[in-house]
Assembly symmetry: C2
Homo-oligomer: 500 residues x 2
């Protein structure tokens, strides 16, 4: 077989794998959006069957041989193809390190923990969750050892979500968060609070829905290659770049609930719609990492969607949609209200500053768990103490404490840091975009974000995994991730709003 033929064979396996993964995505989307109550058992079985088939494709000997042969003669491939082979081989070898019996045990531990988590939330009692969660933690410790690591076992777990992320670097990053953001947020809390009560009037469901569609359209989301639906928890899913769907939820008594979730998911979707179809199934056609994915959603949600410039363009139309509720609320009052900063026990309801304390707490706890320094016995007390220390909050019940997140019950340990990375990348990228596009703020004030989207497409979306997160950031900004951009953004914006 010629190198070309081998590469084509490799490409076909990855294409087939992507087809099955996207079928899984369709069934999962349907489960959240449409499926009737009694369907859950069979649907789970069908999803498990497809997952098994996808796993067979991606761990099969045929793929392994192709990858070994292709990687042995890198000079025969152009750079993009070389990079694809390198990444696929890395993932292939990683998969091989986990024996099948381990994968089955892990899947069972996660299922049990997820069931227990649901029950524990229902009962508002961490005790129900403790033992199954301990089993997950032990499996993840074992996984880290199986996968191997240089410095820290947590590094090997993060690799699945944020390739290249290391405890060494994150410790420095979160030390900065503690050193700068904790004090800054405390200073803001001591200032007179802004008023956001106008957000909590009655806002008609259908009118909100239509407004959400308009926000997506204005961002450049392509409804010819996607759609929006309702689901209890908003999410974005891709069935390939020609069908990238978003969901949202609507609370008739809270305007903020839907709006920034639409913009956030829209940001994720623009990334998926911007990946190159010609690279379908290949690393060069996939998102870089969860952190980079989140940078796209956060950039639109916060740096754009909570900026004064953005609302200069969009607020008049919003007032027209809801004249009774908003005619008496001026633009500046609206802008301040949607940027209210206040600590709360729930991560998903946090403002864009306090959000990172929630991540910091999870990062510290996860590290301690994986290092084996603590176990799940008494973990609720550890949790509550950290919320007291960092946010000054007394956690009154498990549901608003340690039971709030689904992640651990799915075995997703090492995932949370990507949320903060996303925000920090977003601030840095947006700063660079503003430099590269001198008229950007004026364009956004005019309701035109097309130049920004073009910039994101050109600098980020089109490359897929051709560059790692670090490389991408360095190419775009001339330096690696730098927390200072986020702090500069935060100090300027919230200093203005809170008169600090």
């Amino acid at each position: 077989m010629s190198t070309e033929t081998q590469y084509e064979a490799y490409r076909q396996i990855l294409r087939k794998h992507a087809d099955v993964e996207h079928a899984i995505a369709v069934l999962s989307w349907d489960k959240e959006v449409n499926a009737p109550p009694r369907s859950s058992g069979l649907r789970a079985q069908q999803l498990a069957t497809l997952s098994g088939m996808a796993h067979e494709l991606i761990t099969g000997a045929e793929l392994g041989e192709l990858l070994e042969q292709l990687s042995a003669q890198p000079e025969a491939l152009e750079a993009k193809a070389q990079r694809n082979i390198t990444l696929s081989l890395k993932e292939y070898r990683r998969n091989l390190k986990l024996p099948q019996d381990f994968v089955i045990r892990r899947s069972k531990a996660n299922s049990a923990a997820y069931d227990a988590w649901l029950k524990a939330r229902e009962a508002n009692d961490y005790g129900v969750y403790r033992e199954p969660l301990q089993a997950v933690v032990e499996i993840k410790r074992e996984e880290a050892e199986l996968l191997g690591y240089e410095d820290h076992p947590y590094d090997s777990l993060m690799e699945a979500f944020e390739p290249g992320a290391r405890v060494k670097a994150l410790d420095v990053l979160f030390a900065d968060v503690k050193a700068q953001l904790v004090d800054f947020a405390r200073a803001l809390r001591e200032r007179p609070q802004v008023d956001d009560s106008f957000l909590f009037q009655h806002y008609d469901k259908d009118k909100q829905w239509n407004w959400g569609l308009e926000l997506l359209r204005n961002m450049g989301y392509d409804f010819e290659a996607g759609r929006q639906d309702l689901s209890p928890h908003p999410f974005t899913t891709s069935f390939g770049g020609t069908d990238v769907r978003v969901t949202t939820r609507i609370d008739e008594n809270n305007l903020a609930n839907m709006a920034w979730s639409c913009i956030h998911e829209g940001g994720h979707a623009l990334y998926e719609q911007g990946l190159l179809l010609s690279e379908y199934g290949l690393p060069s056609g996939r998102y870089v990492s969860l952190g980079i994915h989140e940078s796209q959603s956060r950039l639109w949600e916060n740096n754009v969607g909570r900026s004064l410039a953005y609302w200069k363009a969009h607020y008049p139309a919003l007032q027209q949609r809801f004249p009774q509720q908003l005619t008496s609320i001026g633009l500046e009052k609206f802008y301040k209200g949607i940027n209210r900063v206040a600590p709360s026990p729930i991560r998903t309801e946090a403002d864009e500053l306090h959000y990172h304390f929630h991540i910091l707490i999870r990062y510290e706890i996860e590290k301690l768990l994986i290092e084996g320094q603590i176990n799940c016995e008494g973990l609720d007390e550890v949790w509550n103490q950290k919320y007291k220390d960092y946010l000054g909050l007394d956690i009154k019940e498990d549901r608003e404490g340690i039971l709030q997140d689904i992640h651990w019950s799915l075995g997703s340990i090492g995932y949370f840091p990507t949320y903060s990375l996303g925000s920090f990348y977003a601030a840095q990228f947006y700063q660079q975009a503003s430099k590269d596009l001198p008229g950007l703020e004026q364009q956004i004030e005019q309701g035109d974000s097309s130049a920004l989207l073009k910039w994101l497409r050109e600098h980020i979306h089109q490359y897929g995994q051709q560059y790692s997160a670090d490389e991408l950031c360095e190419r775009i900004c001339g330096e690696r991730l730098n927390f200072q951009y986020f702090m500069d953004y935060a100090r300027k914006k919230y200093g203005d709003i809170y008169g600090l």
Copy 2:
């Protein structure tokens, strides 16, 4: 391996196959109901990948060996398991008769014909379709030879849709249709026509939609295990018995368009919801044949849903939903109107009597094509002549003539007869149900069809393919399919309506 272990292994392969087939069904449903315009290319590729995987499962050597071994020791299995093995082996051997290169050629011929059919409809020109259709016909002739047959090549094609159906018996059946139904319909056409103009007023879309849901609910359709959506062409699809979905369409200027399509698809869905979950993936958990499936939809649509008893129960509520349109229309006028008999060139718009002329015409043409007595050159003229002969209609354009049906473009030759079989089985089954359930008509007059559904569940649904269509009919009615029940039903009902 013990027989038990072998049977379990066989069952696991069929379960897995069913999981993939149901995933295909989800993707296909989504394509019709939800998918955005640009998704079609990738979605087709994903469906092809899943179809290939399903095909590998069902034609694999592992399944073949298990089936040969299990069928060699029938005494070790209980009757139901024996029957499953017999049917699966038959299908397995049938699949093996078609070499892979033939399957690929067939798939390409169908794709080309489908594309040509779309273009031909657009252009209203059979000429565009003729050659690709001829290729399909030649492939089907080849398929018949590959599969083999005793009497007639068309028999082997029908086997895919209606196992056991034979030209020998269908010729007798359709001779009866010609001898009795043609004359009877002509006699009706000579009577003064009933008025159905009240159906073509403006009926609000949302009100129709809610009414359709109510009709489904009343039939016993389980919305906990299904849902209704809109799609251009109504259909029923099953993702397993806990998720059986129906679609409908709404024409605001035609009340009939939605109503009987809801009831028709509801009848299909009740069958799928009534198959036993414990037999998931096995022949004993699958519908008998397309004819029997259609008997369920037609029984509800026509024998129940166009009966006077049914509307005694449901018409007052319908009048309340649409007082402006229907207050002045009495029950009897409504009943007559919804049973108006008039020939039309379009099969899907035909009344329940003329419908069978459309099928008769297609049956005659398909047989001639497969026998090689005619080809596609001039087939439009053959078509039009038959419409003149049987229905007295002049077909004015290809779109309302030979281009109206999608079936041939998909390679579905041998499919049409199942529609007539369905109606004839429906009449016979309904007659038997009325005998077995003495108070049935009164119950239906009260809006209660639960005893009928129970009867269908007990006598038909629960068995899956444990009995062939012939066996099932004989068990239920004491005789095989007998066209006379349909004619008796038709003469009585339409004799009354048209005063004949």
